[in-house]
Each structure stands twice: as C-alpha cells, then as structure tokens.
Symmetry: C2
Subunit: 415 residues, 2 copies
Amino acid sequence: MIGEIISIGDELTSGRILNSTSYFAASHLFGAGHEISAMFTIGDEPEMIGSSIKDSIDRADFVVVTGGLGSTSDDLTNEAVAQALDRPTTLYPEIFDKIKRSRRFASMPSLEKLAWLPSGAEILKPEERMAGYLLIYNDKPIFFLPGVPNQMRELMIDRVIPRLATWKGGKTSLVRQKVYKVFGLSEMEINQRLKAIENSHSQVSIGYYPLSTEVHVSLTVRGESHAETERLFQQIEMVIEETMGDSLYGEDNACLEGIVGQILHARKLTIGVAESCSGGLMAHRITTIPGSSNYFLGGVVAYSNDLKERLLSVNRKTLLEYGAVSRQTAREMALGVCVATGSDIGISVTGIAGPTGGTEEKPVGTVCFGLAAGGESFGFLFHFCGKRAMIQTRAAMTGLDLVRRYLLKLELPSD
Amino acid sequence: MIGEIISIGDELTSGRILNSTSYFAASHLFGAGHEISAMFTIGDEPEMIGSSIKDSIDRADFVVVTGGLGSTSDDLTNEAVAQALDRPTTLYPEIFDKIKRSRRFASMPSLEKLAWLPSGAEILKPEERMAGYLLIYNDKPIFFLPGVPNQMRELMIDRVIPRLATWKGGKTSLVRQKVYKVFGLSEMEINQRLKAIENSHSQVSIGYYPLSTEVHVSLTVRGESHAETERLFQQIEMVIEETMGDSLYGEDNACLEGIVGQILHARKLTIGVAESCSGGLMAHRITTIPGSSNYFLGGVVAYSNDLKERLLSVNRKTLLEYGAVSRQTAREMALGVCVATGSDIGISVTGIAGPTGGTEEKPVGTVCFGLAAGGESFGFLFHFCGKRAMIQTRAAMTGLDLVRRYLLKLELPSD
C-alpha cells in the first residue's frame, strides 16, 4: 500500500525537536512492504492540519498522523479532523470515565478534551491510557498517533503495522515481523546474500538499517493464513540465521553490551576492561546496562605508556619492542587488567584513533585487542576506517563482540 | 519571513536515513527570526517534486529545497523544477569547464548533468565544487541545496541565512548571529531571564535549544546598517553574557570537553579521572578531543568497592562510615587517581545511576564528585533526575564542568 505520514507540532517546524517519529514510522512501514510517497511536518495550525490530512488521504491508500492529540490548547488535531473530514467530535464515555477517575482530573479539568474524538474513531489501545485512534475515510484508514515517541512506537508496532497487513479488502492476510541484529557484516554484504530470497517470495520484505557499527535487518512475512505465514516465516528465518552465521548476535530489542552482560551474569563470570584509544567507551557501554555491577568490576583507561606499565603491568620491553599499538601490548594489557581488577576475563584495546599519530606501518584506524581468560590470552589486529569518533566506537564495540565470541566459543579472528 | 522546507530522496521516505537536514534548516531559520509553516519529505518522483515546489512557493515567502542535485539517475530536482516552474535547463559553461577538468569525468561522463541547471539559477558557491543555487520565482527566493548534510549546512549558514536577512525588497538589513553554550541552567531559567530583551527589540531573535545536559542559545540581530547591527549585537551580547554568568562556557562550535582540554593544554596541566557510576563516560568524553593525550593520562573505572580501595587507595573506613556514594569517598577517589596516574588534577564521580540501588537517604540520582589539585581536595553532592543514561551523562558532564570552574577560579558548589 502507498501511504503518507503527517507530523504535527510547532516544536518540529521551529527546529526545536528532531522529528524522529516520522523516520521510525517510515522505516517500519517500508520494512513491512509499504511505500511512503510523502512525509509532512506542519505546525499547530488547524486549517493547515485539516487540509493536509484531507489531501493526503485523497492521494494515498493510508495516512499516519502523529501529534496534537494531547489536552493543551495547542493540541488541535481532533478539531481540525472534525472540520476537514466532516466528523464532528463526540464524547467517548469509556475514555471520559477513565479520565474522571484519574487523580489529575480534579486539578486539570481540561483533560476532558481527551475524551472528545471525531465520530467514528476507533481507539487503538482502549485498555491503556494512551491517545491514538483509527478513522476510516472513503474506505481508507487514517491512523492518529500521539507525538510522544515511545507511545507512538508502541502503537506503530502493535497496531498500525498488523492492521495494515490485514487491510486489503478484508483478505485475512497475516503478518509476522522480526528484527535481526548483526555485528561485523556490512549492509552490502548482507544485502547481497539475502537479495535472492526477497526476489523469490512476493510475501517477504527485508529492510536493512545500518546503525553506527551494526546492521539491523527486519524481516516481514505476509501470508493468507496463520499457518502459511508461520511456515514461510520459519523457512526464511532459517535462511537468514544461516546466512548471517555467528555475526547475528541478537533479535528485536537486544544490544551487544546487553547480550555480553547476560552471558557473563548467567555464568557468574566477571570482566575487567583496559582501554587506550577507546578512552573509556567500552567500560561505559558495559555500564549502560542496569545491573552491570553484577559482572563488571571496573577498568583502567591507560592513555599514556607510563600508565600501561604502572596500572596494567605491561612490560617496558614489550612497549619498546612492539609499540603501544601491538597485539603483544594488547595481550599484556588484558592480562594486567585481570590482575588489577581481579576479574575472570580481561579485554583490552589499544590503537590509533587519529586524526594524527598514524604511521606508514600503523596508519590511523589500526587497533589491537587483547583477551585474557582462564590462563589463556589472545591478541587481535584490526583496521578500521572512519573519523576519530567512528574508530573509537568501532574499537569499543569490536572489543565487546570479541568477548561474546570467546564466551560462546565462536570463531575468533586469527591471533 | 514565512518559509517552507522540502527534502527530496527515496532514502528519506523509506526510512533508511533520518532527515536531520530539515531539522537543521528549521532550527537555524527559526533562530534567525523566520517562521517555518511546513516541511515536506518526498521521494525521487519528478511530478511530486515539481508540484510540491510550485505549491510551496505559491504559499510561502521563501522555500528551501534539499537533495536530488547529484549526477545519478535518481537525482531529478533540476528536471522537475524546469518543468514545474517553466525554467528549461541550460548548460552553465563555467561549471561544465570545471567538470571537464576533473579526473572523474573521463570515467563518468554523466557528471555533465551537474552543469545543466534551470535557467536563471544563481550558483551559491561558484568558487567551490558544490551543488546549490538560488532561483527567484515571482520575486520570491527558492534555495536549492545538496542533500549531503555538511554541504547543506555550510550553504545554509554561509549563504541562505545571510541572503534572507537582506531580502525584504532590497532593504540593506544586515544580520549577525552567534550561539552561546550554557551548562548548569535550564532552558526555562534562561528563557525567563532573556524574555524581556527579546520583547523589547523587534530586530532581535533568541532561540533556545536544550541538548542533553546543556542549553544552546542562539542570538540573531538584524539591523539596517552594519554599524547599527554591530552596536545592537554587542549591547545584547553583553546582557546575555551577564545573564548567563559563569554558566556560559563557550560559543558557536565549542564543547565542554574541548574547553576544559584547551585550558589544561595551555597551562601544561594533566588530568586523571576516577569513575564509578559514569562508568568511563567522563574519560571517553575527554578523549573524543583530538590531541587529548597531551593532557589526559588515563583513568580508573572503579565500579566495585574493592577496586575503589585497591586501585584508588580509598580507605575501607571511609567506605564503611560514609558509603561509596559520599563526598568523603569521592574526595579520596580524586586524590587516589592523582597518585595512580601521576596527574596534576584528579576528578572523581560516584553515584547511584539506577534504576535500582537507591535508598531513602540516597535516592537514585544522588551523585558525588571529588576534585583534587595542588594539595587541595573538594567534595560535592548533586541530585540529578532522569533515567540511568541521563544520570550517567549528567554525572560525566558535571564532572567536566567542575574542572572548568576550578581551573577558571569560578564559583564552585559548596563543599
């Protein structure tokens, strides 16, 4: 189906807030096999809101509208719709009852506004206190979603995508969707490997979303029956899992630092990190996970050679002979951080993030890693491209991926 | 002036790329005193491109169009404009000469396309190899900018904003703009303090952009002459500087970690960091600055109490008596990291980032800092709100701001 997206709010047209909801909606609709022909962002101006919605639904098969559903004076979507689509607002008693029972109602009688919706509106999540409804106009669906990003995302995934999947003239087609998270393969490599599946199945859409150092791949399968959808989904999923191999680290809401944390926690193992060029980013990513204190003891950021010796017991001879950016130094850093923190596993990173400091032999982007655990230690050498910030991010995340690979006994790069 | 923004590209409507250029354009136009009534994002579809541009320039005082100016087959803006606005494309020989001289032309004859522009197009930066032109239609300006973010931004700031400032019927009004970067005051506080100036000067616009833990305030002054603009600008700037006081840490492209680095570098001082709840983020922010190895020696992430003792020499008695999250522990951490790294200055942070670990006495968001330098040491206590990631960010940035305040002999919070 061909759709249009309309975002409403002065905070968007004044550039105070980056419109990430349209992006989210577009990427998920596209991933589900729809085409977005246009996206509009307009201010809190009822005439413009009304005419935009009317024009869009005249052109497109469906429209998604976000924002302007709240209870303040600049929330004007419902009135604009009532006017433009000739659907006078009516009181929805089930919503009003909930509002009346809420504590905030006594001090904010304007909340009543939330219970007045264009006639014919079908509440998307009546069980929750969340704005958002569907209006059918000329047999086409218009979804009205709150501008609050997390509510909008929830309704998009739980209601809009499934509803559109079963829309076409009442055909009971069903949809199944999953996001696969991949580290260590490029978008192009993945696309080349998966192109064939997508071309040979009209019910299958695959979307590719490169995100910093990772690629997220979304699979959407649409079938006529639950059984058919499920069978096709499992068949394609098997191909995807096989194709991505051990570069596939998780699904849907998983993140690399979370996966590594889960494994460490489950095995009652602790980790310490020794960082040079990533400057603390690897430790920081580990500690973004609530409860990481269960397995993360601490780390050392040893930017200077002197500190690599003093805090991580790297041999001066190793530094002189192989340099600070070498597999040998990285290994000693990993061993050293195990001793310094008393952790079961040590991971280290030392490299040249640039823009200066590169040499012919070790150009900017040269990054070495060390991993120490259970009496063993390994050293790895990578070459990353990009600017300083990208090299630092790649260094931190590659370190985490090496730990994941070690813990799951997957293939490691050659030592 | 009232403007509209149109972004062109299938990569935007398919949700493959987040449209940050529209946001950038809107915030800068708004900051310069214009109003954006609508923003459109459309795919690479010439009819839609043409009719959108035509409709927008009929409604608005000016239009900014981004994207679709390149040399590949999906770059269709120029053809669409030629058709919709009746401005047939003509060959611009000065551009074609440059293209012919480029090395890539031999293998890519399609580059010639870049030299064919709608008749009447005025190249925005003829001295550089960069797409982007101005077309005047019914006496109104339409700016066509490349979709490449950094080129678009450069043209926006260097050409579009100044050009619009002097537009109105040939009046030679002049514009001066600056961004002030503030740490430690909320958007509302700043707004309340500055509202009066904005209301009393029609030539002055002030924009407020809260960005994670900071607020960026943009000042735009428009006058009839260079002298008048300059005089008014300096007058308002003085008020702003006085109002923000020492919370104003920098201007335009400055960042807090860069400012701290500059001072340390200029004074030939070194710094070491000891982190608990910020988990390495403070060290990481310091090392995002190229050349930070000149003043940053390293740091310790001591997540566990044991490591606070072992790596930072915090007294067990202090930990038992006052707890890990206390001014006392923070001070000892700061002193300890000076010893461990041999740095002139030590900054430490220890707190409760949540979601668990809070108590009645020390709720989630309680964060203590220690600062040690030149034989002195200080301890500070803050309460931050927000979720885990926000508390970690506030902790790291507040630590850096304390270092800035100490180095510049500004007021510090009470010990």
